[in-house]
Symmetry: C2
Subunit: 247 residues, 2 copies
């Protein structure tokens, strides 16, 4: 199967426990790195409560403005798992039991199957089940919305399915220079590079509480030669006391 080519992506992180600070959100960085490696740009992430109407509105809005949306959380069996209902409402369809998911749940739980388990067979009506060769449980995809679980260990497993089915337009290339000059000192040099290399994304990140360097400067582009040119031009501008280390 040929992976689908994706431009921009968004993430919707769902869970009261994230916004109350009970849990430190852990899935976004994994998703971001996975997409980045595929050449897909994650351009927005939103964190909301387990609330059907909020999820409905946010999913619709993100799905309209991005090629693909990944949700995380709210897909378990209990009353506070309302992601499927929220997404269904956002697209104006019903949440219905998928027969294949129901069969998988019956196989897994046998006699112990409860109505709670069967909530995990719900999908927005018309959704597809995306299979991954290494991942047993199918992933529910409605239009351009991929519905992923909140439990970090399972979320990470599901990223294998993302890697199997999606690709960006072109890969990203990224290099970094670590220096022991502060950002304000580097600013005129950075301004020169940014102005001469407008198609390279130049980032500057101070490290305040680390003796090993003061500022990390990053160079990112879809074109490797552009990254190299900007990096080399920057390093050539640095005085010897910058102690530049290139990665």
């Amino acid at each position: 199967m040929t992976p689908r080519v994706i431009g921009s992506a968004a993430a919707l992180l769902i869970g009261n426990e994230l916004l109350s600070g009970k849990v430190h959100e852990a899935n976004l960085v994994e998703l971001a790195r996975t997409l980045r490696a595929l050449g897909i740009q994650l351009s927005r992430a939103v964190m909301v409560f387990d609330d059907i109407d909020v999820i409905a509105q946010e999913t619709r809005s993100l799905a309209q403005s991005h090629d693909i949306v990944f949700t995380s959380g709210g897909v378990g069996p209990t009353h506070d798992d309302v992601t499927i209902e929220g997404i269904s409402k956002g697209f104006g369809v019903k949440a219905v039991v998928d027969e294949k998911l129901k069969r998988l749940l019956s196989d897994a739980y046998g006699d112990k199957l409860t109505d709670g388990h069967l909530r995990m067979a719900l999908k927005p009506e018309g959704a597809l089940l995306m299979e991954g060769s290494d991942v047993k449980w199918p992933t529910i995809v409605y239009e351009n919305v991929w519905i992923l679980p909140g439990v970090p260990e399972i979320f990470r497993m599901k990223l294998a399915v993302v890697r199997e089915h999606l690709r960006g337009q072109e890969p990203f290339f990224s290099r970094a220079v670590f220096t022991n000059l502060d950002e304000a000192t580097l600013k005129p040099l950075l301004d020169a590079i940014v102005s001469e290399h407008p198609r390279v994304d130049v980032g500057s990140y101070p490290k305040w509480f680390d003796e090993s360097y003061k500022t990390k400067v990053t160079f990112d582009s879809r074109k490797e030669d552009r990254v190299e040119a900007a990096l080399n031009a920057f390093v050539a501008l640095l005085p010897p006391e910058a102690g530049a280390r290139v990665e």
Copy 2:
């Protein structure tokens, strides 16, 4: 000084490095816990690029729909630090040099002061400087937008100013029960509690890869007696094999 009473809060997390996965966002959970302890509900968080127009639009939108907004990131001296310009644009005001901030920067850097440093004296025209008794550097506040830095160590220091100046309407009370039953088994019990205690926020969190428990159930409310009543009712419903542990 009497702290200001705040209902709902939102966070705007700014930085290309967060959405590319180069950096694991670390400030939101600290902000969430600080606000929670003050009785303030964080109800939405949005993560965006270092882009003036995106920051402008998002700040305006969050500031209209929440009592208070906290931004994190994009306030350093370099070309990719555009939060002040973005917020200014969002409110239709100019980014101007604040004379007090300029004096503080001159005192700190002396002869080494550069134009880069002076970018850190910018504020949206009309913004206030919020002082904290333990925090040397003032915090820029424009209307209901608190502009905080992205460097996690400094962000955490700034939360002292938040604690000093803001209060929620009432504190939150929170309890938790750890059980070794799975969520689907607990579901009918949870449904009964949720229906009998509609004003308590009941959360259910499975732990898939931990031997010490299977499901954590949380009870949250602004009224301590409601939390206790829901918790006790839930524990009374649990069978002995649940191995309930209350925290």
